[in-house]
């Protein structure tokens, strides 16, 4: 923990600056057809208790059998985190009583996790990248769900989630601001989605974060941390960190001592509340699960999984930079969503042609992304096809339309003519740029003739040129090639 926050990341208290130190435990639901130790379906939703096997309900005499697909997913994820893969790991029992925990213990990995230390590169802003260390990743069972709103007198239990595989990914306390924390979770989610080991869906609870927050004055040893449990959106993670850090600074500045405890974030009130103190913490009585042999596999198994991994975001970003000549930031934005990255490449290479990769990137990260955001989709999820973008960019590149007209064409694609080829839209609506110098010259002549006063002004003050350009464009219905108009005006005005 030598990582020292930059001064810009410090937050001001009444008595001076404070540094926030953040570590995170992410619970990621493993993408698999069946549960970690039983054959029951992992499907989300469904009638309560529709996806429950005898093992999940902890019937007497039932035994867990490890789901190999979940093991493979954990190893793939470990590889994606550039982490140590442990060829031998052990499942332990974490013992506690709760109605949605049928066995009376959760099968988890305590001392010997399947994945050890790793690292994640996180872009916090266009100009700043941090490295967040991964402490470990282990496999464990999810619990069921207690339903308190079904009956006035009783609570009911839904075991559909009971036994579903989770990966707990524990970071080192390497984050120094809520921005860094949010960027870390976003990046981690991107990696998980690339690998296909977790769908990253926070609304459905597939990805949940326990956030450890402490504060200290710069240069001091680590402060006492509080764990904020089960934060279920990236936005809330940021908010929870901010309010918790403020609270801890308040405690310290009031001469108090931060107590190690587990807290809950209440987004409605914008505060964290104590859930249980260290003294109230459970004694989980961990011990190796005698129903399960240690989990062992060989390096060849790991190598085979590695060979089957898709190109991961960092590698893809590097490739986009070198292959397409994109700025790092653009490349980073494009690869943040695998489908969008694929979409980008499909647009660049559509129809076997190659077109200006930077221009394609600008459209995807600009107007198209803005539209996608406005409808709550990723670029790849919109109805706009890569071929349509390719066509649009080609029209700009060969000067058939201007960038401004291209925006109009995009609006038509978004609106009335969702499936149309931009080429056809331009043709049907006569939106082609006027590059005919004769027509442009005629328009320029007419404007100059009608505005002698403005001509004089422009000759005195060349920035007046814009006004003339505007007039010519107006006259040509926006279709005149702006460069040609410029050239013609400069010549005729003599500036």
């Amino acid at each position: 923990m030598t990582t020292q926050a930059k001064p810009s990341k410090l937050i001001k208290g009444a008595t001076g600056d404070f540094e926030i130190v953040i570590g995170m435990e992410i619970h990621a639901q493993v993408t698999s057809r069946s549960k970690l130790f039983s054959g029951a379906s992992t499907e989300f939703g469904g009638e309560p208790n529709a996806h429950v096997s005898l093992v999940d309900a902890a019937m007497p005499g039932m035994l867990p059998v490890i789901n190999q697909e979940c093991v493979a997913q954990a190893v793939r994820t470990g590889l994606g985190l550039e982490a140590q893969i442990n060829l031998r790991s052990v499942f332990d029992r974490k013992n506690y009583f709760y109605p949605d925990l049928p066995q009376g213990y959760q099968i988890s990995q305590y001392k010997s996790p399947i994945v050890g230390e790793g690292i994640v590169a996180v872009d916090v802003s266009p100009t700043e990248q941090i490295k967040v260390g991964i402490e470990r990743l282990h496999l464990e069972q999810d619990a069921g769900k207690s339903l308190h709103d079904q009956s006035a007198t009783e609570s009911l239990v839904d075991l559909n989630r009971s036994g579903v595989a989770l990966m707990e990914i524990v970071s080192k306390p390497d984050m120094r601001s809520s921005d860094e924390a949010r960027a870390y979770v976003t990046k981690l989610r991107t990696i998980l989605r690339y690998i296909g080991s977790c769908d990253g869906n926070m609304e459905q609870g597939s990805l949940r974060a326990d956030v450890n927050v402490s504060v200290r004055r710069p240069g001091e040893p680590l402060g006492t941390r509080c764990e904020i449990k089960n934060v279920n959106s990236i936005r809330f993670i940021g908010q929870a960190i901010e309010v918790e850090a403020r609270r801890q600074i308040g405690v310290i500045e009031d001469g108090g001592v931060v107590q190690q405890e587990t807290r809950l974030f209440d987004p409605g009130r914008g505060e964290t509340r104590s859930m249980r103190s260290k003294e109230e913490a459970h004694d989980y009585r961990y011990f190796p699960d005698p129903d399960l042999l240690p989990l062992e596999f060989d390096q060849a198994y790991v190598d085979a999984l590695k060979a089957g991994l898709p190109e991961l975001p960092d590698a893809k970003k590097e490739r986009f930079i070198t292959e397409y000549g994109l700025p790092a930031y653009d490349a980073g934005v494009l690869v943040a969503d695998k489908e969008t990255a694929d979409y980008y490449e499909a647009a660049v290479r559509h129809g076997g042609a190659t077109r200006d990769p930077k221009l394609v990137a600008n459209w995807l990260t600009g107007d198209v992304a803005a539209y996608a955001n406005s409808v709550g989709l990723s670029v790849a999820q919109t109805h706009i096809k890569p071929g349509q973008i390719a066509s649009l960019v080609d029209l700009i590149a060969d000067a058939t339309i201007s960038g401004k007209i291209a925006k109009d064409v995009l609006a038509i694609l978004i609106g009335d003519e969702k499936d149309a080829d931009p080429k056809d839209i331009v043709a049907a609506r006569g939106l082609q740029q006027v590059t005919d110098t004769g027509a442009i010259a005629a328009a320029v002549d007419a404007i100059i003739k009608a505005n002698p006063d403005k001509v004089a002004q422009a000759q005195a003050k060349p920035s007046m040129l814009g006004w003339f350009v505007g007039q010519v464009m107006k006259q040509t219905g926006g279709k005149a090639n702006p460069q040609a108009v410029n050239d013609e005006l400069k010549a005729k005005l003599g500036i």
């Binding site: 005898l54 309900a57 902890a58 019937m59 007497p60 005499g61 039932m62 035994l63 867990p64 059998v65 490890i66 029992r93 013992n95 009583f97 109605p99 049928p102 066995q103 009376g104 213990y105 609570s155 239990v157 004694d283 009585r285 961990y286 011990f287 699960d289 005698p290 129903d291 399960l292 042999l293």
Partner: protein, 503 residues
């Protein structure tokens, strides 16, 4: 009719195939014996209708020439095995009303091979006990009595119902389980043969768990051959139990006639324990002599960590039990006693549902696993376990084929005679047997003589991992050499004609 039930399992099996009598006739004869023997309290649940239906199906298969290896043979099932549609209690109040929707793998194997189920046999609650006195359904009474006494004698435990039922001819054989001696000790107490196979030989799936790393299923029967026949059907790999081992199951019955000439039998000096009655030592010497006469070589061996086995066992077993029994919480099945809140319900349910010995072991287990004590108890006990295993490994590496010891430190005792003040007195019953569970080895108890009071005494044979065949071969030699023990007189049967007056 009674003569039918005096047959051995092997004899009954062969006679059924010869159609000397039908499976239904045999089942009826057996059910009549059970009905007369309720004073023994060996069964928790009798399943006569199921028995007759299964026997009919057996007769049909015999008629079609499709008989399985156990076709028509009536058996009892320890009530720790889950049986589909039949109440399964683990002899505990907490499983009240529980009827599994599934059949344990081992019992399913028996039915696959044609066996007929007579009912569920009594045991110590959750298999925790050595006298069958901890059952919620009351103790099992041994069919044996001391000469000239009508003091009730325990059948041993935890498979006391299995052992008593087999000894009293209420079934031809029974399933049992052994976590620290629960097959071998009651077998020794009742003059029956019991084998705890190698850990992993039988599936644990569907058997109510006590201590997962120690529990193993096995049979109790009246002869070594009968035990071998049952063992072959019960054993086998089960993908549903990842601790079960994928190894071929040999024909154990064929191993009986192997002979023991040239075998090297180890006699561990650490099993000579102070305070053990002279007749136990004498029995052991006798066993040595029989094996020597049959051509085996006898060697003295040392298993130096033996004395730590019992204390280590009473850490490991309760630790696992405390966790395994957490699922009995009143939420999903079995007993529920309402409380003021959820914690109250847990407390009320578990206080009412578990008996004293089970509660004691759960508390010991929770204690040894708790923060600050885990290393001192659980971790050290596991280290001891490794050392115990290494003791045996060394002996086997030195060429020992099997080890001979007494099965129990005494003959069976009377009700309430042991452990009422100090539970450790009861725990000491397992002193010769727990090492075998701790090392995961096969162990077999075979009757070898009687005590001065006329109660059966047994010897224990301990084998190499997955070498149950050698144990059967050795046990067969001891069985042949040992004086024949007459079956216990049927003191429990009502006077002739009494049964007719029952409503």
């Amino acid at each position: 009719m009674t003569t039918l039930t005096d047959l051995t399992l092997a004899e009954a099996r062969d006679a059924l195939l010869r159609k000397d009598f039908s499976a239904v006739e045999l089942a009826k004869a057996q059910l009549a014996e059970i009905e007369q023997a309720r004073a023994l309290n060996a069964f928790i649940t009798e399943t006569p209708a199921k028995a007759l239906a299964m026997a009919e199906a057996s007769d049909a298969r015999i008629a079609r020439g499709e008989a399985g290896p156990l076709e028509g043979v009536p058996l009892g099932v320890k009530d720790l095995y889950c049986t589909e549609g039949v109440a399964t209690t683990a002899a505990s109040h907490i499983l009240e009303g529980f009827k599994p929707a599934y059949e344990s793998t081992v019992s399913a194997n028996l039915w696959r091979d044609g066996a007929v189920m007579l009912g569920k046999l009594n045991l110590d609650e959750f298999a925790m006990g050595s006298s069958n006195e901890t059952s919620y359904f009351g103790p099992v009474v041994s069919p044996w009595r001391r000469q000239g006494s009508d003091t009730k004698i325990v059948p041993g435990g935890s498979s006391g119902g299995s052992a008593a039922a087999v000894a009293a001819r209420l079934c031809f054989g029974a399933t049992a389980t052994d976590t620290g001696g629960s097959i071998r000790q009651p077998a020794a107490f009742t003059g029956t043969v019991g084998i705890k196979p190698t850990y992993g030989r039988c599936s644990r799936w569907g058997i109510v768990a006590f201590a997962s790393s120690l529990d193993q299923a096995g049979p109790i029967a009246r002869t070594v051959r009968d035990a071998a026949i049952l063992m072959r059907s019960m054993a086998g790999h089960d993908p549903k139990d990842t601790t079960s081992v994928d190894a071929p199951v040999p024909d154990y019955e064929a191993a009986l006639s192997r002979g023991v000439k040239g075998m090297k039998i180890g006699i561990p000096k650490e099993y000579r324990i102070q305070g053990v009655p002279a007749e136990i030592d004498a029995l052991w010497e006798q066993g040595v002599a029989w094996l020597k006469d049959a051509g085996a070589t006898i060697v003295d061996i040392s298993l130096p960590h033996t004395r730590y086995a019992l204390p280590a066992y009473y850490i490991v077993a309760p630790a696992e039990a405390s966790s395994n029994l957490a699922r009995y919480d009143g939420v999903r099945y079995g007993l529920r006693v309402p409380g003021k809140d959820i914690v109250g319900m847990y407390e009320e349910t578990r206080a009412a549902g578990f008996g004293k010995e089970v509660r004691r072991r759960i508390m010991i287990g929770a204690y040894v696993l708790s923060a600050g004590y885990y290393d001192a108890y659980y971790v050290r006990a596991q280290k001891i376990r490794t050392l115990i295993k290494q003791d045996f490994d060394r002996a086997y590496a030195d060429g020992v084929d099997a080890i001979l010891t007494p099965a129990t430190p005494s003959a069976a005792f009377g009700f309430g005679e042991k452990g009422s003040g100090d539970p450790v007195e009861m725990y000491l019953n397992d002193v010769f047997t727990v090492t075998v569970n701790m090392a995961g080895l096969p162990g077999l108890a075979v009757p070898a003589g009687t005590s001065s009071e006329g109660l059966p005494l047994g010897l224990q044979l301990i084998g190499r991992p997955f070498d149950e065949e050698t144990l059967f071969a050795l046990a067969s030699v001891i069985e042949k050499a040992a004086p024949k023990i007459a079956p216990p007189p049927k003191w429990w049967a009502p006077p002739v004609g009494f049964a007719d007056t029952l409503p």
